[in-house]
Amino acid sequence: MSSPDTGLEEVSEGSEPASDAARDAIVATLAEQLGEGLVASEVLAGTDVWVRVTADSWLEAATVLRDRCGMAYFNFLSAIDWMPSPFGRDMDAQVDLSGEDPEVDPEPMAWGVTGGSTRFQMLARVHDPVGHIGVTLKADLDSDDPRIDSWIPSYPGADWHEREAWEMFGITIVGHPNLVNLYLPSQFEGNPLRKDYPLLARRVKPWPGIVDVELMPGDGDEPDDDGDGS
């Protein structure tokens, strides 16, 4: 494939049926191999595919993808905390909220593609370097004691990603040989990427960039402007 034109032609024009068949086949293989383990899946025609598996079949799903779907390439592994931030949405506010009580009514939890049922969701992606298709995997975790099997037996590259997920979200990785902090100091307390972990800088000082979301002059109500008065 030394000529790039032919390669891209396939992707951009004749692609839709071909790559969708490929993506559907991946979902079908997972459904066949995991059975009940596959909870939900979504194929976005010609763009992407998401699958949600149970936490118990997390490692098995990786093995199936690697061995039977050609997903030799480990892309990334992380997690999502679906809880809406208990501190409100500072950026939406037109005024500085930092002096007020940060506890606001939490919104109901809402999930993204393929849905969800618990607060924490694992998020990982693997890729087929020959067929050029990537798969995003998700798995719901227990809200109180999130834990999941390590992917290291299938993809050794998951090592550091799992350590990051462990320190940032507090997700216990079962079977990880070296579960220590990757970025944070060893005495660090808390899991910074959880939504209930406050971004202290924002709590003590309003973000100056907040002006960006205010209306600009001539765009509706003009803010009081006493001239430049220098």
């Binding site: 390669g7 480990f74 990334f76 998020l123 992606r125 370097p129 590259g157 960006d212």
Partner: protein, 390 residues
């Protein structure tokens, strides 16, 4: 005759035994060597704790976090246009390229497409940042192995590329030029001719490197067969970019399913190398700089006319959804997994940076190598600390 052979054999066994004993003694002592956090060979603050047995590396543990800035958390309290300012600082040598996949992910969620002219200029700047990034590697690779001259050449010629980026974006290091729906501005007058001149300089630089470094005996001795990464191991660790292409994997997102950029409009080649050693990684990058010059030159000749900005609302709210977009950045695959809930701010941004995966193979690849090769291997994997720590 037979006696002589036997005697030789016995002498050999004795020598082996004494060597073995010496090794055992070394092993019992062991030694821990701290490479970094401030080490000239680490481009920033990567600290590698190396456990040695004599000159041999028993175990290498990179320690990160000296530059962790928490962009994933910060992005959750920034509006979409503000996030580009953050992600600019991930791979600071090729800043513009960091913005592109994030903007593309947001565009995918908003179902907006940049006008053709914006896509072309984006691709040109994308490739210019590749040159700005990779030629520093080419010079740096020499300096790591004791050749001081190449790095001066690299900085000298990189300046011309940065000038071109500055002329368009106003920023040498952090352009912050990409916008959802297009670009901030059009190209300045006369820029195309100037850039063509710069490309000639870069081509000359590549030839100089070829003369000065590639054929150098010392360079060859210190890189050939050093730090060999087989393709399947590299894939399982998520290596990308020139690192994986140097292991013979013919995979480049610019050609294979990349979105939003116009690499498919020009004629170019993906270079691979079968060896997978330090030399192969150096060689592939050298070819990629040349190839990038060709890509830019062809694109410059055919920039379509028209606006550089699509019609987007001034206050950008991204519809709820999830998108993952990755591009072939100078250091490798860079992607953003953006989760939106329909707000001004992203709900979650997972930044998949190339160097984090590229460097996660170091414990595997450094095991059993020798101390001088550690430097050569780390240099050839080519990481930017900001791209590891994010």
């Amino acid at each position: 005759m037979n006696d002589v052979a036997n005697r030789n054999q016995l002498a050999y066994i004795a020598a082996q035994a004494s060597d073995a004993r010496v090794n055992v003694e070394f092993e019992s002592e062991g030694m821990t060597l701290n490479l970094g956090p401030q080490h000239p060979a680490t481009h920033g603050t990567l600290r590698v704790i190396v456990k040695l047995d004599g000159e041999r590396v028993l175990r290498a543990d990179p320690m990160m976090g000296y530059m962790h800035r928490g962009y994933e958390k910060l992005a959750e309290v920034r509006t979409y246009p503000q996030v580009t300012t953050l992600v600019n600082r991930i791979d600071w040598l090729g800043s513009f390229a960091n913005e592109v996949p994030f903007i593309l992910a947001a565009e995918q969620l908003m179902e907006v497409e940049a006008p053709p002219r914006a896509q072309w200029i984006r691709t040109i700047l994308f490739e210019l940042s590749r040159i700005a990034n990779v030629i520093l590697f080419l010079g740096d690779m020499g300096v790591q192995l004791g050749a001081v001259t190449p790095v001066f050449f690299a900085f000298r010629d990189r300046e011309f590329v940065l000038n071109q980026i500055e002329a368009v974006t106003g920023g040498r290091f952090h352009p912050n030029f990409d916008r959802i729906g297009g670009l901030k501005d059009d190209l300045p007058k006369g820029w195309i001719e100037e850039t063509t001149g710069v490309l000639d300089r870069i081509r000359t630089f590549c030839d100089e490197m070829e003369d000065l470094v590639t054929g150098n005996e010392i360079f060859q001795a210190r890189t050939r067969g050093i730090g060999v990464i087989p393709a399947e191991v590299g894939l399982a660790y998520g290596l990308s970019g020139a690192n994986i292409r140097a292991s013979g994997v013919d995979w480049d997102l610019r050609r294979d399913g990349g979105v939003g950029l116009v690499h498919d409009q020009v004629d170019w080649k993906v270079w691979t190398h079968p060896d997978g050693d330090s030399f192969a990684r150096y060689w592939v990058r050298l070819q990629e700089v040349r190839e990038a010059c060709g890509i830019i030159e062809q694109l410059l000749g055919g920039i379509p006319s028209g606006p550089v900005m699509a019609k987007v609302p001034r206050i950008i709210k991204v519809p709820a959804g999830e998108a993952y977009v990755e591009t072939e950045n100078p250091l490798g695959v860079m992607g953003y997994y953006v989760v939106s809930k329909g707000d001004l701010v992203p709900f979650r941004v997972k930044i998949r940076s190339a160097s984090f995966n590229n460097i996660s193979i170091t414990p595997w690849v450094l095991e059993g190598t020798y101390v001088p090769d550690v430097v050569s291997i780390l240099a050839s994997l080519y990481f930017i600390l900001g791209d590891i720590d994010r």
